[in-house]
């Protein structure tokens, strides 16, 4: 156990921040989706790390991470489908231009 827990947490925080930055700054909807994936995986790192360092006897952390994968995969499928659908009707994938919800 040479690598302390904090390293993992710093890595996860860095990864989360990169993902958040991507979500907030990119214009392309697909890139935003990529950012979201990064944030989810940062969370997964946290979950697995906490499991390993805090309570290795139970496997709750791993199970949780797997569920997050599954949900993420479903989310990507739905998200990409929405983006393709929006692209077909509006010929764009730029988030700022998809402003149908605006007053």
């Amino acid at each position: 156990m040479s690598i302390p827990l904090s390293w993992f947490l710093i890595l996860a925080a860095a990864l989360f921040s990169i993902g958040l930055f991507g979500v907030l700054s990119r214009k392309n909807a697909i890139a935003i989706l990529l950012g979201v994936e990064l944030m989810l995986n940062a969370v997964n790192i946290n979950l697995v790390a906490f499991w390993r360092y805090q309570d290795p006897a139970k496997m709750a952390g791993q199970v949780f991470a797997i569920i997050v994968f599954a949900v993420a995969a479903a989310e990507v499928a739905v998200g990409l489908a929405l983006i393709i659908s929006v692209y077909r009707s509006r010929k764009t994938v730029v988030a700022d231009e998809i402003d149908l919800m605006k007053w």
Binding site: V23, I32, D96, D99
Partner: protein
């Protein structure tokens, strides 16, 4: 067994009332079938009870009766129950017979079996129907439009009467009393289309109400004093002694006050002076009603009640002593009424009105007899009078019916009730004539043969034998007048030659009307034989004086039979025969009212009592109603209060509207809310940018703020 029958006696007429009202209103033959069936059942029960009662030795000591607890009153119960003692047995006998006879009579009287009238309407007497026979048109009597209703009402009435007679307490007696009062009102006003009938109904109801209120006071007084309303409780010797020795008001004992209050009820119900005014007007009702309610049963119920209460009225008095206060009042009212009503009857031309005044007068005889302590004589006259007066009324109804037939036949309208339009009817209506003659002779007290003689003679003997000479002379004069006006009536109606075309064409009435006359005529003669005094010369002792023994047994102490004396007997013979002879003598050749020397205004106008009461009570009451109550109280005071309340409400409403509703509710709360929402909406819509990343930034910002907050606040 007897008790069960007694409990059931009033029931059939009540059921008949409801069945007729609810189900058979349209079916006339079924209505009278049910009513007569019910009356027949009650009649049968009454006869069974009567015969059983005859079989009991010393029946006065071993009466039939049973009672049940009815109302809890604190720790005790108010009991109601039934009883038949000798007095009520005697009464139920004539009630059963007269009720049945009159029910049967009503079928013919209301023209059952005749066609429907051409222009008959409910609420007016039938006017007759035109029928065509052999191509020849003529008018025949038509059936009463409210035929079923009539039988329903008289059934309810019979229920009231049976209830009253079988009651063993003042409460149910009063209930029956009031039911009869209601039926009397309904039946007097049976032809409510006639204003005179309406007024008569109201008058009868209001006048008897005066008596009833006092009677109710008396009942309340009895109850507060004795704690019970049962006769057997009230008439206990120690209770009577306490009542007689307790002073109440004005130096009169409690018993005296109660007796007077109850007696005022009788004055109203039995139409004694000064509350007699309603009975003559009550003749507006159909004749069977006059016969049953206003001659045989209801008005007799008043007398029955005072006879029933005799032990209380006479508490502290024994035979031979001077009369107590209450009894003197009763004797005075009775004797005065007897002669007073007889004088009015002399000058009446309406066949039914003569009988009405005669009824008042005869009831006065009974009241006077009771007042002087002649308990048995009063009860005896009550029974015989019920028979012969019902007979006379039914006979007069038959005469009127025959006259109406004549009126319809000839088509010229004369009053079918005016005796001066009659005459010579003995040939046209022989059975009616003979039965009416029997009734008339009984009423006059025709010697030996008729029941009226024996009962009246007993009253005279009691009055004379006990030294009440004023009462004796008054009653004897009244009896003379009675015989006189009765003979006047018979002479004018049946003797001589017809005085109108209608009388020439009068015809005998159907068997349903004749049969009751015959039955009642039999009793009008034979019922006298049960009360022949033992010492009567020649006849006394042949038949035991059963009535005296039987009814006298009701009292705690059997009243002594009065010593025989020639004076009352001779008086009785003289007044009856003399009156009859004078009546015949004076009226055999009278052709018109102008030849009638007794048509003097004061008698014709009934001593102006209606006018006096009109001035003393009716006019002031109307004046108060119109001027004070309506104009002042209602239109000024009550309306004024109402208007000011309304004005104030209006003012208050206006103030609220201007100062509260409009500024606060409408502008501040109503419009203000809307405006605030609108403003906040247009302000907030700027953040609805539609750019997903802005929303994300907002979420993250909030998240961070909360995270920081939680970190510093919770850790």
């Amino acid at each position: 067994m007897e008790n069960f029958i007694i409990w059931m006696l009033p029931l059939p007429p009540l059921l008949s009332f409801f069945v007729i009202i609810l189900f058979t209103n349209k079916r006339k033959s079924m209505s009278h079938g049910i009513a007569i069936g019910a009356a027949g059942l009650s009649w049968l029960g009454s006869m069974i009870i009567y015969i059983r009662a005859l079989g009991v030795k010393e029946f006065g000591r071993h009466i039939f009766g049973s009672s049940i607890n009815w109302l809890p009153t604190g720790s005790t119960w108010l009991k109601i129950g039934v009883q038949i003692d000798p007095l009520s047995a005697a009464v139920i006998f004539f009630v059963a017979w007269t009720v049945l006879a009159i029910f049967l009579y009503s079928i013919g009287y209301h023209n059952f079996g005749q066609p429907k009238g051409d222009n008959d309407v409910a609420g007016l007497p039938p006017h007759g129907a035109t029928v065509t026979e052999n191509g020849h048109k003529h008018t025949v009597p038509s059936i009463e439009p409210m035929y079923s209703r009539f039988f329903a009402f008289i059934s309810l009435f019979a229920f009231g009467m049976y209830t009253l007679v079988v009651s063993d307490n003042l409460l149910t007696l009063f209930v029956g009393w009031e039911i009869m009062g209601l039926c009397s009102y309904l039946l007097i006003g049976f032809w409510f289309g006639k204003p005179s009938a309406r007024n008569a109904a109201v008058k009868a109801f209001m006048t008897t109400r005066i008596g009833d209120v006092f009677m109710l006071l008396g009942i309340a007084f009895v109850y507060s004093f004795t704690g019970s309303l049962s006769f057997s409780e009230i008439f206990k010797p120690e209770m009577l002694g306490a009542l007689a020795s307790t002073p109440a008001f004005f130096g009169i004992s409690a018993a005296g006050i109660i007796g007077l209050l109850l007696f005022i009820g009788t004055v109203g119900k039995s139409a004694q002076w000064p509350l007699h005014v309603w009975l003559p007007d009550a003749m507006e009702g159909p004749t069977p009603v006059s016969a049953m309610i206003h001659a045989a049963t209801m008005v007799s119920a008043g007398v029955y009640m005072v006879i029933r209460m005799f032990p209380l009225i006479s508490a502290g008095w024994t035979e031979g002593m001077p009369l107590n206060m209450t009894m003197s009042v009763i004797a005075f009212i009775g004797a005065f009424t007897a002669i007073f009503a007889a004088t009015i009857a002399l000058a009446q031309n309406d066949i039914k009105r003569v009988l009405a005044y005669s009824t008042i007068s005869q009831l006065g005889f009974m009241i006077a007899a009771l007042g002087i302590g002649a308990y048995v004589a009063a009860a005896f006259h009550l029974v015989t009078h019920a028979f012969f007066k019902a007979l006379l009324f039914l006979g007069s109804g038959s005469v009127i019916h025959g006259m109406e037939h004549g009126v319809m036949h000839t088509g010229n309208h004369v009053d079918p009730q005016d005796m001066f339009n009659m005459g010579g009817l003995r040939k046209k209506m022989p059975i009616t004539f003979w039965t009416f003659l029997i009734g008339g002779l009984a009423l006059s007290g025709f010697p030996i043969l008729t029941a009226g003689f024996w009962s009246k003679d007993e009253i005279f003997a009691e009055a004379f034998g006990n030294g009440h000479f004023v009462v004796f002379i008054t009653l004897a004069s009244a009896a003379f007048l009675t015989a006189f006006y009765t003979m006047r009536q018979i002479t004018l109606t049946f003797f001589g030659e017809p005085r109108s075309k209608a009388a020439e064409h009068a015809s005998e009435t159907p068997w349903t009307m004749i049969l009751p006359l015959i039955v009642l005529a039999v009793f009008s003669v034979s019922y006298g034989w049960v009360g022949i005094p033992e010492q009567f010369p020649g006849l006394g002792g042949l038949i035991p004086n059963w009535f005296h023994e039987f009814v006298g047994g009701t009292l705690a102490e059997l009243p002594k039979a009065i010593e025989f004396s020639w004076v009352p007997l001779v008086t009785s013979l003289f007044v009856a025969l003399g009156g009859l002879f004078c009546g015949w003598l004076f009226y055999r050749n009278v052709k018109s009212p102008q030849q009638d020397f007794l048509q003097i205004p004061v008698l014709k106008n009934k001593w102006y009592f209606d006018e006096i009461y009109d001035y003393l009570f009716v006019k002031p009451a109307t004046w108060i109603a119109e001027k004070f109550t309506s104009l002042f109280m209602d239109q000024i005071v009550i309306d004024g209060i109402l208007h000011s309340v309304a004005q104030f409400s209006l003012f208050l409403g206006h103030a609220f509207r201007t100062y509260f509703d409009k500024p606060v509710i409408n502008e501040f709360i109503g419009d203000g809310t809307g405006n605030a929402v609108k403003a906040s909406g247009s302000g907030l819509r700027k953040i609805q940018a539609g750019r997903i990343q802005y929303y994300m930034v907002a979420s993250i910002t909030v998240l961070v703020i909360f995270a920081v907050l939680f970190y510093f606040l919770l850790v």
